[in-house]
């Protein structure tokens, strides 16, 4: 047991280092672009004087390194832009302030995260169910019709762009069949039913796309597992086929599936850009895209770092879960 504690400590320490390096890299990249965010906040007519004022207020007139250090300090101490009655305060932990939106980046992310999380988690449950069951069915019927069908579905899923499938789904379910709303998001706390009803189509679309890789992975893993000696042992003990397949076969295939699942989910929580755009949902992905359009560098940096953090975190969780799922893995 001390092994796992030490493992997590080591990994968290590594995470901090990676995030530091990453934030520096992101900072250097985004603040090196020639466009000047101050332009957008300078108003019209934008005299050089007013521009300089805006730059000073937004603290863009300092060197990039100084700005980065301000950013780091802001995380712990918060930041204040300008002074006097016009001053803007960004409380700790401050990950930047969006002047075009007039709100701290942390608040923006906190507002948008539930939308993205709703899309991602719901879809994840669906694609896991679809992918794993079709994968198992394909493996058990290797070479037969059901196998070919499942693999076919997987192929279509992998090769279809999400916006195409999304638009088709809106067209079919929303307009022709008029079954579901075509866009918008209702918070879960307001009405769970409406929440789900609005999300059904994006869930299905994302799930079908993602399930593809799970079908293929599950199929391959199951074929391998079912060939192992301990499967024969299970049969020799008198276990029925269902028990052999699920308790003994699927149990062994679980580790790589869970690994992929964790990483996919971690990635998706950082923003399902295309899906959010197609279904007009105000999630993290949508936030990022509009921020890029408005040269809102603070938001771009904030969301990018947040997504990166989620992926690193997902990796850590996956590794810990891996240890829990496979008794042979030791976190030494």
């Amino acid at each position: 047991m001390p092994g796992i504690v030490w493992f997590v400590v080591r990994r968290l320490f590594a995470t901090v280092l990676v995030m530091l390096a990453l934030s520096l890299a992101v900072y250097l990249i985004f603040y090196a672009i020639p466009a000047d965010p101050a332009h957008l906040s300078c108003g019209k007519p934008c005299t050089p004087d007013r521009l300089e004022q805006a730059r000073h207020f937004m603290q863009l007139d300092q060197s990039t390194i100084q700005q980065y250090l301000n950013f780091l300090r802001g995380i712990f101490a918060g930041r204040t832009f300008g002074d006097g009655p016009a001053a803007v305060r960004c409380e700790a932990p401050c990950f930047g302030y969006s002047f075009p939106l007039g709100r701290p980046v942390t608040t923006l992310i906190a507002d948008r995260l539930p939308v993205t999380a709703s899309i991602a988690l719901g879809a994840a449950v669906l694609w896991l169910l679809i992918g794993v069951s079709l994968g198992v069915i394909a493996a058990l019927n290797r070479g037969r019709l059901l196998d070919r069908l499942s693999v076919g579905v997987a192929l279509i899923g992998v090769s279809t762009p999400s916006f195409l499938l999304g638009l088709l789904a809106i067209l079919a379910f929303g307009f022709w069949l008029n079954m579901v709303p075509v866009n918008g998001y209702v918070p879960f706390t307001e009405s769970p039913v409406d929440w789900a009803w609005h999300l059904v189509t994006p869930w299905l679309v994302l799930a079908v796309l993602q399930a593809a890789s799970y079908i293929r992975l599950t199929r391959a893993q199951m074929l391998e597992e079912l060939n192992l000696d301990h499967i024969t042992t299970a049969r020799a003990k008198g276990a029925g086929e269902a028990r052999v397949v699920v308790t003994h076969g699927l149990r062994g295939a679980l580790v790589p599936i869970v690994t992929l699942f964790g990483l996919d989910l971690g990635g998706l929580l950082g923003g399902a850009i295309l899906t959010e755009k197609v279904f007009s949902m105000q999630g993290l992905g949508e936030l990022l895209i509009s921020a890029v359009g408005q040269l809102d560098v603070a938001v771009v940096v904030g969301v990018t770092l947040f997504s990166a953090f989620l992926i690193i975190l997902a990796n850590l969780v996956v590794d810990i879960v891996h240890g829990a799922l496979d008794p042979r893995v030791s976190h030494g």
């Binding site: 001390p2 092994g3 030490w6 030494g332």
Partner: protein
């Protein structure tokens, strides 16, 4: 005294284990102080059960592994610290034959390419005649040169493995479990081949094996390993007929004899071999030994001649008394 081909002096090989910082680092003591000499013309058997360190010792002796401590001499030269390119002359004298010919032959190379590799590693190019000659030595023929490993049976593959080792005309072959992956009928062919090559080419062997009967068949001298140390060493006849170390005695008594109704005294050892991470104090065998007394836990016994013998050594405080010849 004939020429020494291989001399190991106090060789140790520890494999480190990564731990947590608040615990002391641990090491697997795979080989824990072994001294050992092979002279020209000899076949020495190295027997032991899994975890005894015999394969690790073979790899240290061929300098495939670096020893943690001790000295490795090949042909009278200290090669303990020799590395990389400068190992070439060492490789020319000592070659290794591996257990699993399936795993040790590159499946994408033809036999011809496999056999040329040792030549090229020495900076020469073999002629076709040389390659065919090698195949003949191991009982294969010219037509096999263009074939690939999967086209051969297990026994033939092991012959290819031997031919590859012979390519550089070594003095000493270290064979790690050369027949344990083979069927009985094929195993005998390979053992006979090793004997023939010894006579024809004047080769010497170290044969590492867990099968005591195989070692008795080929080796003139035998060393018995337990938990990283040699517990008994001597001429095969003496060790097999009158084992002095209790472990050797138990090991020999456990080997079933293909003779129904044969009455033999069997010493069934209890428990498992202790972990090489924390071997017992003193004699490594004392925890399972039927003769152990308090003194065995104090100092590790050193190899010393058995009463009345000169070349038969045992590392034991209470060696078995020499018995009359058993048959």
């Amino acid at each position: 005294m004939t020429e020494e081909l291989l001399r190991l002096d106090g060789v140790r090989k520890y494999f480190g284990l990564r731990g947590v910082p608040w615990q002391a680092a641990q090491a697997v003591r795979a080989v824990d102080g072994v001294s050992f000499v092979v002279r020209k013309g000899e076949t020495v058997g190295l027997v032991g059960e899994s975890g005894s360190g015999k394969s690790t010792l073979a790899r240290v002796a061929t300098r495939l592994l670096d020893p943690t401590a001790g000295r490795v001499e090949i042909g009278g030269k200290d090669v303990t610290r020799v590395r990389g390119r400068r190992l070439r002359p060492v490789r020319r004298r000592v070659q290794m034959v591996f257990q699993d010919p399936q795993a040790s032959l590159n499946p994408r190379q033809s036999v011809g390419t496999i056999l040329s590799t040792p030549f090229r590693a020495q900076g020469t190019r073999p002629t076709r005649t040389q390659l065919v000659e090698l195949l003949h030595q191991v009982g294969l023929s010219e037509e096999h040169l263009e074939r690939y490993p999967h086209e051969f049976s297990g026994g033939q593959r092991q012959r290819i493995g031997i031919a590859r080792a012979l390519a550089v005309s070594p003095d000493l072959l270290i064979c790690d479990e050369p027949v344990s992956a083979l069927d009985v009928s094929v195993q005998a062919q390979v053992l006979n081949l090793l004997a023939d090559l010894r006579d024809e080419l004047g080769l010497s062997y170290v044969v590492v094996a867990h099968d005591l009967a195989v070692v008795r068949q080929v080796a003139g001298r035998v060393a018995v390993m337990y938990l990283g140390t040699i517990v008994e060493e001597g001429p095969s006849d003496q060790v097999y007929n009158a084992p002095a170390h209790p472990y050797t005695k138990a090991l020999l008594s456990a080997v079933p004899v293909p003779e129904p109704g044969a009455v033999r005294e069997r010493i069934v050892l209890t428990g498992d071999v202790p972990t090489p991470i924390a071997p017992p104090s003193g004699c490594p065998f004392r925890t399972r030994c039927y003769r152990a007394e308090d003194v065995c836990a104090t100092e590790r016994p050193v190899l010393q001649p058995v009463a009345g013998q000169t070349e038969h050594l045992a590392a034991c405080y209470f060696p078995e008394p020499p018995t009359s010849e058993r048959t």
